[in-house]
Amino acid sequence: MTTDSQKNDDRKAWMGVLARAKPDALAALMPADQPDHVLLRAPEIGSVMVRGRVGATGAPFNLGEVTVTRCALRLACGTVGHGHVQGRNRDHARQAALIDALMQTDRAEAIRTQVLHPLAQTEQAARHARAAKAAATKVEFFTLVRGEDK
C-alpha cells in the first residue's frame, strides 16, 4: 500500500525531472497518442524569486528571480496535471503538465518507461560527466617528509 506522502514524493520526483529537462528532449519523447485535454491555466510565463540563506544556514534573503513557465490542464477523465518548468517555453510547460496528468492514470507505467526514465538517464549522465571532469581537478596533497623526521 502506498501512502499519500509516498505518492507525493513520487510525483515530486517526476515533476522535478520534467522541470529540469531540456524542452527539446521532452518534446522528442512525447507519446504519439496525446489525450484530449482542457487547459485550466494556459501556459503562462512569469518569474519566481529565488531565495538563499544568510551564511547558507541563517535567515532567508532574496537573491534574484528565475524565469518559470506554468500550465495546468485536465484530461477528459478529470485527472488534473500541473507543469512548472524553468525558462520561457510554453510547450515545455504544457507537455510537463500533460505527462504529470498521464502519470496519475493507468498509462503511468508506460509513460514512466517511455518518457521519464530516458529523461532521468540523460540528466544523470550529464551530471556524472560534469562531476567526473570536476573530480579530475581535485588536488591531491602530498606531505613532504622533512629532513629531521628521517
Binding site: 522541470a19 538563499g52 547558507a56
Partner: protein, 362 residues
C-alpha cells in the same frame, strides 16, 4: 522662458537605424548567434544574470547582443524585461550544502572533506594571450576521474562544532524585497545581501579591496568558495507540497574573519557571506567582504569611518542601473534648466560689475 524644439523624431529613428547597422558590424563577418554568446561568453552572461537579478541564460545572451557587449546596458535591458513578468511566488531558500559542485576551494583547510576541486578556473593560467584561439577553436576533451558522489559539506561547519565561529540562526522570516518596497535604512542583513547580490561588480570589488587595504580592517580568509548547480524548489499551493521547478548555477563564498571580541561577543571567528547567480567568483568573494564590513554595528565593533562600513554609502551606490540612469541623464536636453542658470549667472555678473563700478567711482 520655454524652448520648444521639434524635429527630433526623424533624427531619433535614423539614429536607431544607424545603431542597428553598427551593431551588426561588417557584414562580411558571420553574425553572432544568441546561442554562441550563451555558450562562449558565459561569464558575461553570468554577470548580466547576477546583476540583472534574473536567471535566464538565453535572455541574458540576447541582451548582450542587443547592447553590443555593453554589460551595464544589457543588465538594464534584463531589469526592464523582468518588470513585465508576473511573479508566481518565492522559492524555498536554496540548499547550497546539496550543491553539485564544479569548483570548491578553501584557503583555510587543506584537508576538507570533499576535497579541493579547482574546476574550470583562470587561477593557474599564465595570463598569456593564447593566439591559438584566434586560429581555431578545437578543444581536446577535459580529462575525467571517478566522481565519488560523496557529500561536500560546508567547511565553516567544522569550526562551528568547536564554537570557534559565530553561527547563523536559521529562521523562516519573510525577507524584505527591494524590488517591491523602497529600501529603508538601517537595512537588515537579508536586505543588504539582496542589494549586494545585484550590485555592480566593479563597485563591490572596489569596496571589498578598500577593506583589505585597511579601510575597515576586516582581515578575511576565504573559508570556502564553491560553484555549482542547486535545485530550486517552490511550494505549489494547489498541490500542497513543494516541487523542483528548475536548477540554477550559483557561486557561494564564505569568508572567515578574525574577531577579537567586543562588549557583546566573545573572541571568535566571524563570517561574511556572498551568493551570486552563475560562475561569478570575483563578485561573490567581494560581496562577502563587504557584507562582513557592514556588520560592524551588530558585532559591536568600532566604526572607523571607512566607506565600506557606511551602509548608506554602499547600498545607495551599489546599483549600476540606478547609477548609470542618473549619470547619463545629464547628457539629455536640459535646455530649460540651463537657460535659468544662464540668466542667473548673467544677473550675478551684472550685479558684481555694477558693485565694482560703484566702488571705483567712490
Amino acid at each position: 522662458m520655454y524652448v520648444a524644439v521639434k524635429g527630433g523624431e526623424r533624427a531619433i529613428d535614423n539614429a536607431h537605424a544607424f545603431l542597428a547597422e553598427e551593431r551588426r558590424g561588417d557584414t562580411s563577418v558571420a553574425e553572432l548567434s544568441v546561442a554562441q554568446i550563451r555558450e562562449q561568453l558565459r561569464l558575461a552572461v553570468n554577470r548580466v544574470m547576477a546583476e540583472g537579478s534574473l536567471y535566464d541564460p538565453d535572455l541574458a545572451a540576447l541582451a548582450i547582443k542587443q547592447a553590443r557587449g555593453d554589460l551595464i546596458e544589457a543588465i538594464f535591458l534584463i531589469r526592464a524585461y523582468r518588470t513585465t513578468l508576473p511573479r508566481f511566488g518565492a522559492s524555498r531558500p536554496l540548499d547550497t550544502a546539496a550543491m553539485a559542485v564544479t569548483r570548491r576551494v578553501s584557503a583555510t583547510f587543506k584537508d576538507a572533506p570533499g576535497g579541493q576541486i579547482l574546476g574550470p578556473t583562470f587561477d593557474y593560467t599564465h595570463r598569456l594571450l593564447e593566439f591559438r584561439l584566434a586560429a581555431d577553436g578545437v578543444v581536446p576533451p577535459a580529462p575525467t576521474a571517478l566522481a565519488t558522489g560523496d557529500a561536500v559539506p560546508h567547511i565553516t561547519g567544522f569550526l562551528n562544532r568547536d564554537g570557534l565561529i559565530e553561527t547563523d540562526t536559521p529562521s523562516d522570516d519573510i525577507p524584505p524585497d527591494l524590488t517591491r518596497e523602497p529600501m529603508e535604512l538601517p537595512a537588515s542583513r537579508p536586505l543588504r545581501l539582496q542589494a549586494l547580490a545585484r550590485g555592480d561588480e566593479g563597485f563591490i570589488l572596489s569596496m571589498a579591496y578598500s577593506t583589505q587595504r585597511g579601510y575597515g580592517r576586516t582581515h578575511a580568509f576565504v573559508g570556502e568558495l564553491r560553484i555549482g548547480t542547486v535545485e530550486v524548489e517552490m511550494d505549489i499551493p494547489e498541490l500542497g507540497f513543494a516541487v523542483c521547478i528548475g536548477e540554477v548555477e550559483v557561486t557561494e563564498c564564505e569568508t572567515v574573519n578574525q574577531f577579537k571580541g567586543s562588549k557583546t561577543e566573545p573572541p571568535q571567528f566571524t563570517r561574511g557571506y556572498g551568493l551570486t547567480f552563475g560562475q561569478t567568483e570575483r563578485k561573490a568573494i567581494a560581496m562577502s567582504l563587504v557584507d562582513r564590513a557592514l556588520r560592524w554595528k551588530e558585532l559591536g565593533e568600532d566604526n572607523t569611518g571607512a566607506p565600506a562600513q557606511d551602509e548608506e554609502f554602499v547600498l545607495m551606490h551599489a546599483d549600476n542601473v540606478q547609477a548609470t540612469g542618473f549619470l547619463e541623464h545629464i547628457k539629455l536636453p536640459h535646455y530649460v534648466d540651463f537657460q535659468s542658470e544662464l540668466e542667473l549667472i548673467r544677473k550675478l555678473r551684472a550685479e558684481a560689475m555694477s558693485a565694482l563700478q560703484k566702488e571705483a567711482a567712490e
